[in-house]
Amino acid sequence: MPRYALTSDPRVGVEIVSAALACCTLELQAALGSGVLVESSEVGASPSVIVIAGTVTDALVPSVMQLIRAHPGVKVMSFGACATSGGPYWDSPPVSKGIDQFVEVATYVAGCPPRPEAFIQAIRDLACSEDA
């Protein structure tokens, strides 16, 4: 798992696995590459986050579940409207209406796609909830 530290607060470390499913993935990569996170092996890796970025179709649910189960104890981030509720595809039969129907979601990030600030905010919130 790649390990990152927040540039603005290098004490906050995070491990990130991203499930690249649709266009939100590109925005997530842009957020990761925007300089708000730096790859670092020195920082502690808490929290561990799995980012579900993009449209989850019913056909993909088993693969997504498998990925999440392969990382026990990981926190699930629902990144963007599609993963959270189906988003623009809310009326489409093959799209699942939110990943919280089958996994426990630690944090939802609104947006289509979410802004990098929202992603960083979510990472911070997760880190704070770990401390508490």
Binding site: A81, T84, S85, G87, W90, A106, T107, A110, C112, A118
Partner: protein, 105 residues
């Protein structure tokens, strides 16, 4: 202007329902009622809509801006102040008080 939030300017909203009907994600809910107001010098009272509640479900919203485009009174506007995250999906439904534009309180 960052397109990171859609704000509601409550005073400008006439409860015309255009945004609610045009929203492709069906993420706006609006409740209103009508009252009769008699203006001084007017012969008959006129009907005025009063906004009771206005909710945007940000877990569904795709930030397309159609609601902003169709609003005839500019009651909806792009706003840059918020990165919206939540640990709970219900908390992503924002109502009038949470939808105020940045700079106003």
């Amino acid at each position: 202007m960052k397109h990171s939030f859609i704000a509601l300017i409550e005073d400008k909203c006439t409860s015309c329902m255009l945004c609610v009907r045009e929203c492709p994600a069906w993420c706006i809910n609006l409740d209103s009622h009508t009252v009769e107001v008699t203006e001084e010098g007017a012969r008959r009272p006129k009907k005025v809509n009063v906004l009771d509640s206005f909710d945007i479900d940000y877990s569904l919203c795709m930030y397309c801006g159609v609601c902003i485009d169709v609003c005839p009174f500019d009651a909806l506007a792009w706003d840059e102040h918020r990165a919206l995250t939540s640990t709970n999906r219900e908390d992503m439904i924002l109502s009038i008080a949470d939808l105020r534009p940045s700079g106003s309180s």
